[in-house]
């Protein structure tokens, strides 16, 4: 389990995160929501050790992530950033093979190859497995990168705005894949989302950030409330229930 304990981050006298603490429930999807500049991406970066915090620590199973070795942590936590531009000629299968790097150091064993094939099948990438990743569309490339993370086989998966620059169809497809990862493969998924309705529809839990502090956290029902969201986003909004699912209207 991941625990965030009293995390602070200051960028040249601007406090981006200010004493943030919470636990992330295992085997569930947790979304970070909040206005621009609330510190969502920074927080995700700190949890994934891409960014060093100025105060506090991130614990994985009661042990600080800074005490884990690089490849040990890479077997437990993976992260996918929003820009997946790659400067190399690489097929989809080769990209997915990179997911096995923490396990085998780049020399794929028979077991690694099995894992790669399983990831290819799981994400329905068999048809394009030999294609150059730079020839794929944005949605396909995103899926290939998810394939790499599936092959990496970490129990925690972090994603920074995975729906950015995806159209409706691919956004829904992406969220369904993440749902399957949690429900079928028992993964813990943590992601930054901009669209509150996507977050409400597909998450188990939500963390709302505002000005570097946790403004609200809990189950979707606890966070997706008119009074809570209106104060987080500073915008009048209305929440309706359609077929038992909450939809937030703010346009």
């Amino acid at each position: 389990m991941i625990e965030v304990r009293d995390i602070s981050k200051i960028y040249s006298s601007v406090t981006v995160l200010d004493g943030v603490s919470f636990r992330i429930a295992d085997r569930s999807i947790t979304s970070f929501v909040g206005p621009n500049g609330a510190g969502k991406t920074t927080l995700l970066g700190i949890i994934s050790r891409l960014i060093k915090p100025d105060g506090g620590e991130v614990l994985l199973d009661e042990k600080s992530i800074s005490e884990y070795g690089g490849s040990d942590l890479a077997k437990r936590i993976s992260i996918l950033k929003q820009s997946n531009f790659v400067n190399m000629r690489l097929t989809v299968r080769e990209l997915i093979g990179f997911g096995r790097f923490p396990h085998s150091g780049g020399r794929l064993t028979g077991e690694d190859k099995d894992m790669v094939e399983r990831a290819v099948e799981y994400l329905d990438l068999a048809e394009m497995a030999e294609k150059d990743i730079n020839e794929l569309s944005g949605g396909q490339r995103q899926r290939a990168f998810i394939g790499m993370i599936v092959a990496q086989d970490t129990d925690h998966i972090l994603l920074d705005e995975p729906l950015n620059s995806l159209d409706m169809r691919h956004s829904v497809e992406m969220m369904r894949i993440l749902r399957r990862l949690t429900d079928e493969l028992k993964k813990t998924v943590v992601l930054v989302l901009h669209d509150i309705n996507f977050a409400a529809r597909y998450s188990d839990r939500m963390v709302a950030l505002k000005n570097g502090k946790v403004a609200a956290l809990g189950s979707v029902d606890e966070v997706v409330r008119e009074d809570v969201l209106a104060s987080v986003f500073d915008v009048p909004l209305e929440i309706r229930e359609i077929d038992g699912k909450k939809i937030c209207i703010y346009y």
Partner: protein, 316 residues
Amino acid sequence: MRDSGKIAILIALLIGLSLVLVLPGLTPENYEFFLGQRLPKLLAIIVTGGAIGYSAVLFQTVTHNRILTPATLGFDAMYLLIQAALFFFLGGASFLVADRNANFLVSVVVMVVLALFLLRTVFGRSGHDLVFVVLVGTIFGQLFRTLAYFLLMIISPSEFTSLQNKMFASFSNINTNIVLIAMVMCIAAAGWLLRDMRKFDVAGLGREQSVSLGVDHDALVKRTFIVSAILVSAATALVGPIAFLGLMVANLAREIATSYRHTVITAISVLLSSVMLLAGQLAVERYMNFGTTVTVLINFVGGVYFVILLLRGNRL
């Protein structure tokens, strides 16, 4: 064609060109003298090519771009400035200037320190903003070069040109004194990074993705800067700066290689770089009667290739 075939062709070219440069006119009577003259030169050119080809590929990979090479960042100009500064402050008769090997070793150490300083200031602060780094590199390179000439000018305005020729190596004035020590140093520096080749493959995915996959990216960048400083020092000390060579061979190597593996790409880049220098040397010696220098030739070809790269709209 398989990558191993391409590498074999390049090796054959390297050997062929070397023989064409070394063998002509050798007789049982004169071979000792001629070989003593030609072999160190040949070795110097091959080491220079290899050093530039090797550092350019790895430097581009860890900085995630296709235009930045140590030369673009002004590494070679930095070496010239160190030379001029040593001369200026210590005098031409001092041990660190007069003794070629000692001079080279001290310069390399200073280069490594400065490269790490550059890494911390320029790359650390801007967060790898490429345009910013290129601009800073271009300006600093220009500044270093001008300062180096300025220092020489102060020392002796009347002998500026001869001093410049004596101080700074060029293809018409290859510094063969240090070829052995430079070669050993290059092999050691390059060898140090060999075990990291698979990490460089991962680093090509970007900093975030390599950290996610358990590669200590910042440490890899640091090692690459150290090795690049050493390799560029050796190349600049042997034949002087060749701005566009690294850019050209690193990009060509990426286009030629089918594999994404850095073992393959760097091998091709190293060989291609040496082959190009040898071909340039041959052209200048045999067909242009020394009417131009290899540096001018390579920079002309490399510059044209650079413009083509830009025009093709390659994602840099």
